[in-house]
Assembly symmetry: C5
Homo-oligomer: 93 residues x 5
Amino acid sequence: MEIGIVVGTVTATRKDESLVGAKMLVTQPVGIDDQPSQAQPIITVDTVGAGVGEKVIFVKGSIASRAFDNDNAPVDAAIVGIIDMLECDYGKG
Amino acid sequence: MEIGIVVGTVTATRKDESLVGAKMLVTQPVGIDDQPSQAQPIITVDTVGAGVGEKVIFVKGSIASRAFDNDNAPVDAAIVGIIDMLECDYGKG
Amino acid sequence: MEIGIVVGTVTATRKDESLVGAKMLVTQPVGIDDQPSQAQPIITVDTVGAGVGEKVIFVKGSIASRAFDNDNAPVDAAIVGIIDMLECDYGKG
Amino acid sequence: MEIGIVVGTVTATRKDESLVGAKMLVTQPVGIDDQPSQAQPIITVDTVGAGVGEKVIFVKGSIASRAFDNDNAPVDAAIVGIIDMLECDYGKG
Amino acid sequence: MEIGIVVGTVTATRKDESLVGAKMLVTQPVGIDDQPSQAQPIITVDTVGAGVGEKVIFVKGSIASRAFDNDNAPVDAAIVGIIDMLECDYGKG
């Protein structure tokens, strides 16, 4: 899983019908120092109640659909946790 | 999911038979500022009625086949929504 | 899917038995301007009759095995179409 | 699989319910010389008893869920081994 | 699939039980000119009898588990062939 910060929301009226009702958030991947990584922001489905500004754990790939109510939905990124604490005592941390 | 802008179309007469009838669009990945990212344009299957110039949400990987009528088709990228509004009030947004 | 140009062939006598008979082509990912991208050439299974020098559509990931006769084969890249025409009228195109 | 060094831990009270009880470790991908690669640290589920400072083997993608007790969990990275010895006698090794 | 050269071996006593008996080799991704690519070496499961110094074909992602005896094993990279000959007559080849 990767670390990200929720930076916005996205609205799409015309979409795959299995995505109707999905809460889609724009998430910026970040490092353990909270700085944005070089990766572009992605659109993540949220099922844990995340909001803009929160630091989250997200998954990518087909497994992301399992976090969503409808696991047949074409979802490849999902927020699966909201980070309380990240402790890095070693190496770059 | 990622953000992209549809930039063109592709025609392929000889193709996997499960792709016959598929609408294939060339999509350029972009950032939240609509600027092209460093990623190459990709070929996406469209099932939501997207057209050239529209800003879309697309998925990558095996899950993309679920957006397509024939989920046994060898499809690894699909447009699953057309973006109405993208609001980024935080961080880089 | 991605755009590539077939640049060569590969022969492997010792291989996974499910790959026996597979036609394996070396494919260079390219941009919409036909210029090689920074990505390394990959080995793709071909089931649509592509040849060296042709511009093709290829898929990556587990879905590629569906394009192959034996979908239990450990194949992660397959040519699924030969491009007749690519029209990019927008943006970088 | 990739090589990494466990550099920290992460706590998330609000998370996908299938992740309750999961031990989540922050892992920095490294090269065969133990130097951090350019890739960002990722969050990995651990089922083999790894601890901070250990050099581990981790998998990415949907297959990672198989290493976890609940293979329906939305897990895309898992530690599957703790490295005792890495011998590279060839090339860059 | 990608091209690599086997550069070493890895030993892990503590590991996922489905990996017991797996032969794990360190593989450096290379280009068609045999030069190492920028990608880090990865750990690949071998089922075709590859050895250090050999040029191989490897697959990545969940499909790699199909090359392994136990396809429930958390394996995301596997050697599926040993290259006899690579002929690139076109473009960069």
